[in-house]
């Protein structure tokens, strides 16, 4: 399947696939980088966002409402989760945090399965993004092109909030020395709650944006979580730009390997992750280990 046309198509497709992975992974990495909590329920939140959006779509028929509902619902879910459960685990060992988020993930998946069953749920793309667009060297689904734009804007907004705003400054200060930030009269806990909500929202947002591409089922988040982890490890754990870069690299690996031998594309993803771990254990853009 090696031809220039196919190489171009696959390279382009890698960027599109990577964009979605970048968005999902950025949520995971923001939470870990800020709170030090590895959220294994992240895949489930991706899925919950999809379902919340689909339900909103079924009632309103509006793509925009679906997106807002999907992202908004998971934002609230994330805030509640942090407030009610995660907060009590900040001081506990990492394995406890992993177990509790893993458990919450199962609860979310099975709750959705209870209400919606195992058959897939779907939602069409908005009318302005239906059909295919000819790019000269290939035709490509218009909606997937739109998704790249939507994700780019979202990632930029996330970056500005976390790195160029007062909230972002407090967050980063809180990571360094939460006692000092507290004594300056800033409620660090509240900031952490907001960060957890935003990180979750990124997953929920990706979840609903992805529904017109891949209809959702309750366990669709499982594979997504694994890929998001690979992306975070490649990019550097806790690094927001790392997640974006890692996402794009992962997308290219999946796409380009499939040209040579499709059955190796998933394997290659893990091969590259292993290489990164051996050669640069903190990831491509990872900072020195946080305390």
């Amino acid at each position: 399947m090696l031809s220039w046309a196919n190489l171009l198509s696959q390279t382009f497709n890698g960027l599109v696939v990577g964009a979605l992975l970048a968005l999902i992974s950025s949520g995971l990495t923001i939470i870990y980088g800020t709170l030090g909590v590895l959220n294994l329920a992240h895949g489930a939140m991706f899925m919950v966002g999809g379902y919340a959006g689909v339900v909103a779509y079924q009632y309103t028929g509006s793509f925009l409402v679906a997106i807002v509902a999907g992202a908004g619902f998971v934002l609230v879910l994330g805030v509640l989760m942090e407030r009610l459960v995660i907060r009590h685990f900040y001081e506990r060992p990492a394995e406890d945090q992993i177990l509790v988020t893993f458990g919450l993930g199962i609860v979310f998946v099975e709750t959705i399965r209870f209400f919606f069953g195992s058959l897939s749920q779907s939602m069409p793309p908005p009318s302005w993004a239906e059909g295919v667009t000819s790019l000269g060297f290939m035709i490509y689904p218009t909606y997937r092109l739109a998704v790249v734009g939507i994700i780019a804007v979202t990632l930029l907004a996330l970056y500005l909030v976390l790195y160029r705003s007062r909230l972002g400054m407090i967050v980063r200060a809180g990571i360094e020395d939460s006692v000092m930030v507290d004594s300056l009269g800033i409620n660090v806990m509240r900031v952490f709650m907001v960060v957890f909500g935003i990180g979750s929202m990124a997953a929920g947002f990706a979840g609903i944006v992805n529904v017109p591409i891949a209809p959702i089922t309750p366990d669709i988040g499982e594979a997504t979580l694994v890929e998001a982890f690979v992306v975070v490890v490649i990019g550097g754990v806790g690094s927001f730009p790392g997640a974006v870069l890692g996402g794009l690299i992962a997308g290219e690996i999946l796409s380009l390997t499939s040209m040579i031998n499709p059955s190796y594309s998933q394997v290659m993803l893990f091969v590259v992750m292993t290489l990164v771990l051996v050669l640069r254990p903190r990831g491509l853009l990872g900072a020195e280990g946080r305390s």
Binding site: M1, R113, G117, M138, I213, A214, D219, P262
Partner: protein
């Protein structure tokens, strides 16, 4: 609450059981001398869960199917079929008696109880489930699968444990081919059989000398079915443009589909199953591939048309095990659909039919063997008695334990031609099994012993 017990030869038995035994002895004493009684349980040595599993007033059937993951929807369909069958066995339902004429209430008069476990379509989990059913519940029968990988693993495990196992959904040529075992019997056909049935119809409809792109799941089912289809469409001069192999549970098919789009193929043969089939077809539609290439499905997945929509499935040729409109042709299909609809409020897919038929034919074999002793039941199966089914008369082939049954060729209807929301397919042909079946040893089936 403790019950009064008597002690006979050191074993504690309830007063009721003691009375029964006494009545039996008295009854036996007054039977005419020439009457030959069926072989008693005690005549056979213990084997697997025998005689423990069938010594009480009930027997246990262990069901292991995926309830989560890519194949969850098909797994739930199977469960509905199993539950309906067990209900019908216990009440001696009229449909059950058509398939298994000796059934009264229960199997050999014993109530059938069951347990369900989630296999996640993973061989390891599936085998652990069977192990628990066998050791904890003394199951006389274990059943269920949606992935051939689990069916093959279950086959080997059940054969070692000497407990009969019946695959649920499993299309690989290996299940009753190179991985066949004495203790397993398959209802759904070989991928090879399906390929042989659908290939002439594909060539007739689409013409000769076409180029094919395959979408193949990366495990035993995918690989064997792909090879079979490739072999039979060769007769029409069809060649392979590309074979896109993807892991089970893939959600993003775009890179595979771009390879298909750039392959110059005329036909896309999609072998993916479950959610993989749904996602790959939906995404192929998004990429505009189905506007240029014709889709064909050699082993149709339950609920496919419902999930991808009639618009996408119109004109698509598929081979399947069962479709509900067969009720116009087969009276038992009508009875089955009616019973299913009454219980669940929806129509059965082919997984439910396979599950129902598997339990019904097992009950028939046990009734004919007049015993739960596994070798006797297996021999009753192997005798190849003709059984009435929801798709006409069928029988098991002794040499590879494969049901000889028709393959249903269906074509997706145009949305305008659908008479109701479930009327997705027209039946193109019911191809008789006899002429489709390859020799029993064509895929290397070598059976082990009975004990």
């Amino acid at each position: 609450m403790s019950r009064t017990t008597n002690t006979i030869l050191g074993a504690k038995v309830s007063r009721r059981a003691a009375l029964h035994s006494a009545a039996g002895i008295l009854g036996g004493a007054i039977l005419p001398g020439g009457l030959i009684l069926p072989a008693r349980a005690a005549d056979n040595p213990p084997l697997g869960t025998y005689p423990e599993g069938s010594s009480g007033t009930s027997v246990f059937v262990g069901i292991s199917v995926p309830r989560t993951g890519t194949y969850a929807a098909s797994g739930e369909d199977l469960i509905k079929g199993y539950q309906l069958a067990i209900e019908h066995l216990n009440e001696g339902n009229a449909l059950m008696q058509k398939i298994s004429p000796n059934i009264k209430k229960g199997v050999l008069g014993k109530e059938v109880k069951f347990g369900i476990a989630d296999s996640e379509a993973k061989p390891n989990t599936a085998v652990q489930n069977l192990g628990k059913f066998i050791s904890d519940n003394k199951a006389v029968l274990v059943t269920g699968s949606v992935s051939s990988a689990e069916a093959v693993a279950d086959n080997k495990f059940a054969d070692r444990e000497k407990v009969i196992y019946l695959p649920g959904i499993s299309g690989s040529n290996d299940t009753t081919g190179k991985d066949c075992v004495r203790y397993s019997f398959r209802e759904c056909f070989y991928g090879q059989t399906a390929a042989k049935a659908i290939a002439p119809e594909l060539i007739k409809t689409l013409g000769k000398n076409k180029k094919v792109a395959y979408l193949t799941p990366d495990y035993t089912y995918g690989h064997t079915v792909q090879k079979s289809v490739e072999e039979y469409v060769k007769e029409g001069g069809w060649t392979t443009a590309t074979d896109q192999v993807s892991p089970l549970g893939t959600t993003e098919f775009s890179s595979y589909l771009l390879n298909v789009a750039n392959s110059g193929a005329d036909v896309v043969v999609n072998i993916n199953f479950g959610r993989d089939a749904v996602l790959s077809i939906k995404q192929a539609k998004q990429f505009g591939i189905l506007d240029k290439m014709t889709l064909a499905v050699p082993y149709n997945t339950p609920f496919l048309a419902k999930e991808v929509g009639a618009d996408t499935m119109q004109g698509v040729l598929a081979a399947t095990d069962y479709w509900w409109t067969l009720e116009d042709k087969f009276p038992l299909a009508k009875m089955f659909n009616d019973a299913f609809r009454a219980k669940y409020g929806s129509l059965p897919e082919w997984g439910a039919n396979a599950a129902y038929m598997q339990l019904a034919m097992w009950a028939d074999a046990v009734e004919r063997a007049k015993s739960f002793y596994p070798p006797d039941v297996i021999k009753a199966y192997e005798a190849g008695a003709k059984v009435q089914s929801t798709v006409g008369e069928v029988y098991f082939r002794g040499a590879d334990h494969q049901l000889v049954r028709p393959v249903i060729i269906e074509r997706g209807k145009k949305p305008a031609d659908m008479k109701n929301p479930d009327d997705f397919y027209e039946i193109v042909e019911v191809v008789p099994g006899e002429g489709l079946m390859q020799a029993p040893d064509a895929f290397g089936c070598k059976m082990g012993g009975y004990t």
